[in-house]
């Protein structure tokens, strides 16, 4: 691939992530998908490797990975099991929000727990009637002394079934708030969601808050900053998903090349047929192009460049749509066997469809990217 674009240390970390994924995730991913849950061991193993503390500063017990290394982590985990990558995403979003917006007291209390996996984070924004239009959030937070009382209904919350620390978007009048809520607090009712199309082991849940008391010290930033807090977490989520999609596309490519090289039809391997070659070529170019956009987003993030958010939008948009095309073609290359639950490419296709929806649907990203298109217009050299 392109090892000249990153350091030997980053390449070494990447190989370590791949070895972990191939040993602990890939052999079990089909079963996770079938059982619609990750093994408890997976949480413990990922915590022991420092993966759950990837975005936590070393001072708080984390591994503080640089953006590119974090990207590689998501790519390699995503190539083996998109549900495990989802864990990195939502847990990382809570860590990121805490690091960016938390008070010293909040960071000292929760970041070490999140880094060790003793606390598991989930991002509770979506509601039955509120998806992409997050500003219309209906969950309410009412002041109660120095704390808040939460009432509302969240849905499709990734790892909401098991998370112990929920980052919840709520409304108080015209202001939005980002609150940290204990998953087991009185007034929190969680109902697992089963039968999802893709990333089926992501342990989604509906979460109802009924007069749930949120004690003082649980508000991130201030009232009115709920949406910026969640937007910053979503930015990280998109970065994670984009890299995960590169991994998913790579898995589609590798499965397709293996099958097309060995499967004989009309007296020669499938890879010898030009229409199959077209699909393989599109996968190669698509995966590489997505990875390059992810590399650009990682570099911007590392430099604190103002276009980092936009670069992440581009990467997520391209990588998620690429993964969908790659997965569709991977099933096509495999023919009937690709439609079987026994074949990983059928899972890749279901997972890829999910990627086009989570952390910003394709159409939302297209709107945001188009809204910034003037930035790509070359200035007049005479101006």
């Amino acid at each position: 691939m392109e090892p000249h674009l990153w350091t030997a240390e980053q390449e070494s970390a990447r190989k370590g992530f791949r070895a972990f994924a191939r040993r602990h995730l890939e052999p079990h991913a089909a079963r996770f998908d079938r059982e619609e849950r990750l093994d408890e061991d997976v949480f413990a193993l990922m915590a022991a490797q420092g993966y759950l503390g990837a975005l936590v500063p070393v001072a708080h017990g984390g591994s503080a990975l640089d953006p590119l290394t974090f990207g590689f982590l998501n790519e390699e985990i995503g190539a083996a099991c998109s549900s495990a990558r989802s864990l990195l995403t939502v847990h990382g979003m809570v860590c990121q929000a805490m690091g960016a917006w938390g008070t010293p007291e909040q960071k000292a209390r929760w970041l070490p727990e999140l880094a060790l996996g003793r606390a598991l984070g989930a991002f509770a924004l979506t509601e039955p009637e509120v998806g992409s239009d997050a500003r219309s959030v209906q969950t309410t937070a009412t002041p109660d002394g120095q704390g808040w009382v939460l009432n509302g209904h969240k849905k499709w919350i990734t790892f909401g079934e098991v998370a112990t620390l929920l980052l919840v978007l709520a409304r108080h009048g015209e202001q939005t708030l980002a609150l940290l809520v204990d998953g087991s607090a009185p007034g929190v009712q969680r109902t697992p969601i089963r039968g999802m199309l893709g990333t089926r082991a992501s342990m989604l849940a509906e979460i109802r808050f009924q007069d749930c008391r949120v004690p003082p010290g649980r508000l991130l930033a201030r009232p009115g900053f709920g949406f910026p807090v969640m937007a910053s977490a979503l930015d990280l989520g998109r970065f994670s998903v984009a890299w995960g999609c590169v991994g998913l596309g790579q898995a589609c490519l590798e499965a397709s090349v293996r099958h097309a090289s060995t499967r004989q039809q009309f007296g020669r391997p499938l890879a010898g047929h030009q229409l199959v070659q077209r699909m393989l070529a599109d996968m190669v170019v698509g995966v590489r192009a997505s990875r390059l956009l992810c590399l650009q987003a990682a570099a911007a993030r590392a430099a604190g460049h103002p276009r980092s958010t936009l670069d992440t939008l581009l990467a997520k948009y391209h990588a998620s749509t690429m993964a969908m095309r790659a997965a569709r073609d991977a099933v096509q290359v495999h023919g009937a066997s690709g439609c079987s639950a026994e074949n990983p490419v059928s899972r890749y296709l279901r997972d890829a469809k999910t990627m086009e929806i989570i952390e910003g649907a394709t159409e939302i990203l297209q709107g945001l990217i188009a809204g910034q298109a003037r930035g790509d217009v070359r200035p007049d050299p005479e101006g």
Partner: protein
């Protein structure tokens, strides 16, 4: 960095996010659609990194970031210049 340099740097930064040729220093960045919540995070990072201020919890007030002039005034206050 003096206040004039800050104004130039801030306009250059915002030029990465939105069309600034028609943006006045007093214009509302949010109401005018120049900056949305997604990019507010970049703006906050820029203010901290470029102007050497550390944001405290009480600084998270939209009015501090509502316009170019509001940001410049806020930075000056944080740096004890006014």
């Amino acid at each position: 960095m003096n206040p004039d340099s800050r104004q130039v740097a801030l306009r250059a930064f915002l030029g990465n996010l939105c069309e600034v040729s028609t943006l006045g220093d007093q214009d509302d960045l949010f109401a005018g659609g120049f900056v949305n919540s997604l990019y507010l995070v970049s703006l906050l990072n820029f203010v901290q990194g470029e102007f050497g201020v550390v944001l405290d919890e009480e600084d998270f007030d939209m009015d501090n970031f509502r316009s170019i002039q509001a940001v410049l005034d806020f930075v000056a206050r944080k740096r004890g210049e006014v």
